[in-house]
C-alpha cells in the first residue's frame, strides 16, 4: 500500500491503461537513453606527446615535402600567400601559414537538414552516425545475392535510413550503375537521396560543372531560387587528394567550386596504409592528416573560414593481397586516432568506420562493425561515416545490414554516453531501501523512473530464451532484419518534395526514377 501511494506521487506516473501504454510503447523507441550528438572523446589511443609529435611531423611533411598536382587557381592562391613552388611543381606550405589557416578554419558549425529536427551539430566531440560508401553492388532483397546497384536502390536505401532512428545523416551509399552518363548519374542520385530522406545528406556530385544543376535542384525542392545557399540542407563532398601527397584534378576542382559557391563541403582523404601511405600506423596517420590539412588549406585559400568537414580517413591494406580492409583492429585504432587528431585541431571531422570485409551481415560483419564504430564514436568523431548498410569492404550494400547496424549504433551510442555519477545515481538510499525492504530492485521507484532513460532496448537483437526463440521460428538476425526492412520499405515513403516541385524537377532534368515506384501502391515489397 505504502509503496503504491509513493508511486502515485511520481512525476513519471503513467495513466490511461492498456491503450495509452500500447500507444506510448508503439510510438517506437523512446530515444531517451541515447540521442544524436552524444559527447564522445573518452577513448584516446594517442597520448598528448604522441599528438604533438604527429603534428610536428605533419608540419614537416607539408613544408618540406609539399603537395603536388595543385590546380592553377590553387597554385596562384598559394603563391600569393608566400608558399614556394618547387621545380617539380610541388607547393610547400610554411608551418606558420598552416597553423594560421587551422586557427581560422570554420569549426563548431551545424549542418542543416530538410527537416530541421535532423540538423547535425558538429561542435566539440558530438558524435553522429552517417551513411556513405559509393558501393557498386547490393545484396538483392529477394535473392540475397550480389547484383549491380541501381538508382532505385539508393532511393530505397534513403527511405530505409530515414526510418531508422540511430542513423543521423544519409550519404552516397551506392552508385546507380545503370546510368552511364555522368550528369544523369549525379542529378538522379541526388534527386533519389533527397526524395528518400529528410535527414541531412552528404552528396557526391562527380564534377564541378554539375554543381549549378545540383543547386538548382535543391532550390526547386525549397521552392525558391537562392533558398538552398541560405539553408544548405546537404553538403557536397569528394576525395580531393591522390595519396601520397598530391591533389587530384576533378575532386579538388569540385571542392574548390563548391566552396566558392558557399556550399558546405566534406573533404574525405583515404590513403591506405602499406599501399599509398606508410605501413607504420603512426606514419599513415601523419600522411593522412597532412593530406586532410592540405585539403583544408585549399578550401580556406579559396574561401577563408568556409565550412569544411575534416575527413581524416586513414585506411589499411591487407598486405597478403594489397587490398583495402576495413574491419580489423588496425583500422579501428587508426580511425579513432584520426578522430583524435581532428579534435587536436578542434576541427569538425568525419571518419570511416563500420566497413566490414564480410560479404553478408554475419558474425564477422557484426564484430568488425561493432569494434570500429564503437572506437570511432568513443574517440569523439563528429560524423562516423559508412557506419550503416555496408558489406564487402565498401563494394556492397545490404538492406538487412542497414537495419542490423541501426540496432548496433544504438548500443554503441549507449556505450559512448557512459555512466553519469551523481549523488543520486550512486544510489545509497535505494540500496538501503531494497535491503531493508523487498530484497530486490525490480519494484523500486528508481527502477521505474530509469527503465527507459538509463537502458536502451534493441529493436531486432534477440534477447529471448532458447525455447522462446525456437517457438518463434528460430530466426537469425538477418532473417529478422529482412522482415523489419520489408516493413519499413513497404510503408515508409517520405514526401519531402512537393508535387509541384517534383513536376518542375522532372520538367527540367532527366529524372530516371519513375514516380510509380515512389508510392506504397503496387505492393512491390
Amino acid at each position: 500500500m505504502a509503496q503504491a501511494v509513493q508511486h502515485e506521487a511520481s512525476p513519471l506516473r503513467r495513466v490511461g491503461g492498456h491503450k495509452a501504454r500500447l500507444a506510448f510503447r508503439g510510438a517506437g523507441p523512446r530515444k531517451l537513453a541515447v540521442h544524436p550528438g552524444i559527447m564522445g572523446g573518452t577513448y584516446r589511443p594517442l597520448g598528448e606527446r604522441d599528438m604533438e609529435r604527429i603534428h610536428a611531423t605533419v608540419l614537416d611533411v607539408l613544408e618540406t615535402i609539399g603537395m603536388a598536382g595543385a590546380l592553377p587557381i590553387l597554385v596562384e592562391a598559394a603563391k600569393a600567400r608566400g608558399c614556394p613552388l618547387d621545380d617539380r611543381g610541388r607547393i610547400h606550405f610554411p608551418r606558420a601559414l598552416v597553423e594560421d589557416v587551422i586557427a581560422g578554419a570554420a569549426r563548431n558549425f551545424t549542418i542543416r537538414a530538410l527537416n530541421p529536427k535532423y540538423d547535425v551539430d558538429l561542435s566539440g566531440t558530438r558524435v553522429h552516425f552517417t551513411v556513405g560508401g559509393e558501393a557498386i553492388s547490393v545484396l538483392d532483397f529477394q535473392t540475397g545475392r550480389f547484383r549491380p546497384s541501381t538508382l532505385l536502390d539508393i532511393y530505397n536505401m534513403a527511405r530505409l535510413a530515414d526510418g531508422l532512428e540511430h542513423i543521423h545523416r544519409f550519404g552516397a551509399i551506392l552508385v546507380p550503375t545503370e546510368l552511364p552518363d555522368l550528369f544523369e548519374f549525379a542529378i538522379n542520385r541526388t534527386y533519389a537521396m533527397l526524395a528518400g530522406t529528410a535527414k541531412t545528406s552528404g552528396l557526391s556530385v562527380l564534377k564541378p560543372e554539375y554543381l549549378d544543376a545540383i543547386v538548382a535542384l535543391c532550390d526547386t525542392i525549397l521552392g525558391r531560387e537562392g533558398a538552398y545557399l541560405r539553408n544548405p540542407f546537404c553538403t557536397v563532398g569528394g576525395c580531393p587528394i591522390v595519396s601520397p601527397l598530391s591533389y587530384g584534378d576533378d575532386n579538388s576542382g569540385l571542392i574548390i567550386a563548391a566552396a566558392r559557391r558557399g556550399i558546405p563541403t566534406t573533404a574525405v582523404i583515404a590513403s591506405q596504409a602499406g599501399a599509398t601511405a606508410p605501413a607504420a600506423l603512426a606514419g599513415a596517420l601523419v600522411q593522412n592528416t597532412a593530406e586532410t590539412i592540405a585539403a583544408l588549406l585549399m578550401v580556406n585559400f579559396v574561401r577563408p573560414g568556409h565550412p569544411m568537414i575534416f575527413g581524416n580517413w586513414p585506411f589499411v591494406s591487407d598486405l597478403r593481397t594489397g587490398a583495402f580492409t576495413g574491419g580489423g583492429g588496425e583500422e579501428a585504432v587508426l580511425t579513432a586516432a584520426a578522430a583524435q587528431m581532428a579534435k587536436f585541431y578542434d576541427l569538425p571531422c568525419s571518419v570511416g568506420a563500420g566497413m566490414t570485409d564480410s560479404k553478408v551481415p554475419d558474425a564477422q560483419a557484426g564484430y568488425e562493425k561493432g569494434l570500429t564504430t564503437a572506437l570511432a564514436g568513443l574517440a569523439g568523431a563528429n560524423l562516423v561515416s559508412e557506419s550503416a548498410g555496408m558489406v564487402g569492404s565498401l563494394l556492397g550494400t545490404s538492406f538487412e545490414a542497414m537495419v542490423i547496424d541501426n540496432d548496433m549504433l544504438g548500443s554503441v551510442q549507449r556505450a559512448i554516453r557512459g555512466i553519469e555519477v551523481t549523488e543520486e545515481t550512486l544510489s545509497y538510499d535505494v540500496i538501503k531501501q531494497a535491503v531493508d525492504g523487498p530484497g530486490h530492485f525490480l519494484g523500486s521507484q528508481q527502477t521505474l523512473d530509469l527503465m527507459e532513460s538509463e537502458y536502451l532496448y534493441p529493436t531486432i537483437a534477440d534477447r529471448s530464451t532458447p525455447s522462446e526463440w525456437e517457438e518463434k521460428g528460430a530466426l537469425d538476425i538477418r532473417q529478422r532484419a529482412h522482415e523489419r526492412a520489408r516493413e519499413i520499405l513497404s510503408s515508409h515513403y517520405p514526401q519531402n518534395i512537393s508535387f509541384e516541385a517534383d513536376r518542375r524537377i522532372r520538367e527540367r532534368f532527366p529524372i530516371r526514377l519513375p514516380s510509380a515506384v515512389m508510392t506504397p501502391r503496387g505492393g512491390r515489397w
Partner: protein, 239 residues
C-alpha cells in the same frame, strides 16, 4: 493523491467504474483501486464479482501486455501492488461469504540454490492475480516444502532453480510427495532459466512455466481443471 486525479469515481455508472478501475489497476494506482473496490461493495456487489469482474480481468491484460513486451517488469509489479491493495479489502470478505478462493501457492527455490528473483516475480504476479502466496525463500529441502503445504492447506507447489546442479532436487521433492501418497493433492509447477517442458515432464511436475505471466495463466488453468474434475458444479454458482 496528485491534483491530476479529479475524476470522482463515485459518479460513474457501474460499467464505467469497472472500466476505470481496470485502467487504474493497469496503471498501478492502488489508492484508486481501493476506492473503486469500496464503491462497488457499497453498491451491493459481491466481493467475488468485484474480484473477478474488475480486478482479475485487469491483471489478465497486465499479464498479456507483459508477455507482449508492452509492459516492463517494474510496471507489472506496480499493477500487482495495486491488485494486492484491493485484495486486502476483498480477502476477508471473500472468506466470510464462502466464495471459491482463487488458490493458494507455496513457492520456494530448491535446496542448494540461492537464486530467487524469478521466483519472487512469480509470487508477486500470482498475488496480483488474487492467489495467496506463501513464499519460502531459498534453499528449501523436502521437509520445508511438505510442512508448508500442510500448514497452509495449499493448492499449488511452485519450485524454482537457476542451477543445473540444483534442478534435479525438484524430482526428489516430487518423489517424496509420491511416497507419502500426497502427490495428487497438489498442483506442482516448476520454473527457472535452465528448465524446459521436457524436464518438467520427466520429473513428474504438472507444468513448466517459462515466465511469471505464464505461471499465472497456467496456475489458473490447472486450478480450473482440478475443480471441474473434483467438485460438484456449485463452485460456479456465485459467478
Amino acid at each position: 493523491m496528485t491534483e491530476e486525479k479529479q475524476l470522482d469515481l463515485g459518479s460513474l455508472a457501474d460499467d464505467e467504474l469497472v472500466e476505470q478501475m481496470q485502467e487504474d489497476l493497469y496503471d498501478g494506482l492502488g489508492v484508486a483501486v481501493v476506492e473503486g473496490t469500496n464503491i462497488l461493495l457499497e453498491r451491493g456487489w459481491t466481493p467475488y464479482d468485484v474480484l473477478t469482474k474488475a480486478l482479475v480481468e485487469a491483471m489478465r491484460i497486465v499479464g498479456a501486455d507483459f508477455r507482449d513486451g508492452i509492459l516492463f517488469v517494474p510496471e507489472v509489479l506496480l499493477a500487482a501492488n495495486a491488485m494486492k491493495a484491493g485484495m486486502v479489502i476483498l480477502r476477508p470478505l471473500l472468506a466470510e461469504t464462502g466464495a471459491p478462493r482463487v488458490g493458494k501457492m507455496v513457492v520456494g527455490t530448491v535446496k542448494g540454490d540461492i537464486h530467487d528473483i524469478g521466483k519472487n516475480l512469480v509470487g508477486m504476479m500470482m498475488e496480483g492475480a488474487g492467489f495467496e502466496v506463501i513464499n519460502l525463500g531459498t534453499n528449501n529441502d523436502v521437509d520445508k516444502y511438505l510442512a508448508a503445504l500442510r500448514e497452509h492447506d495449499a493448492d499449488i507447489l511452485g519450485m524454482s532453480a537457476l542451477l543445473t546442479t540444483t534442478m534435479p532436487y525438484m524430482k526428489t521433492v516430487i518423489e517424496a510427495l509420491k511416497e507419502k501418497g500426497l502427490r495428487d493433492d497438489y498442483i506442482v509447477m516448476v520454473g527457472g532459466a535452465p528448465l524446459n517442458e521436457a524436464f518438467a515432464e520427466a520429473i513428474g511436475a504438472d507444468a513448466y512455466c517459462r515466465d511469471a505471466a505464464l505461471a499465472v495463466e497456467t496456475a489458473k488453468r490447472l486450478i480450473r481443471e482440478r475443480r471441474r474434475s473434483n467438485l460438484p458444479p456449485e463452485a460456479g454458482a456465485s459467478a
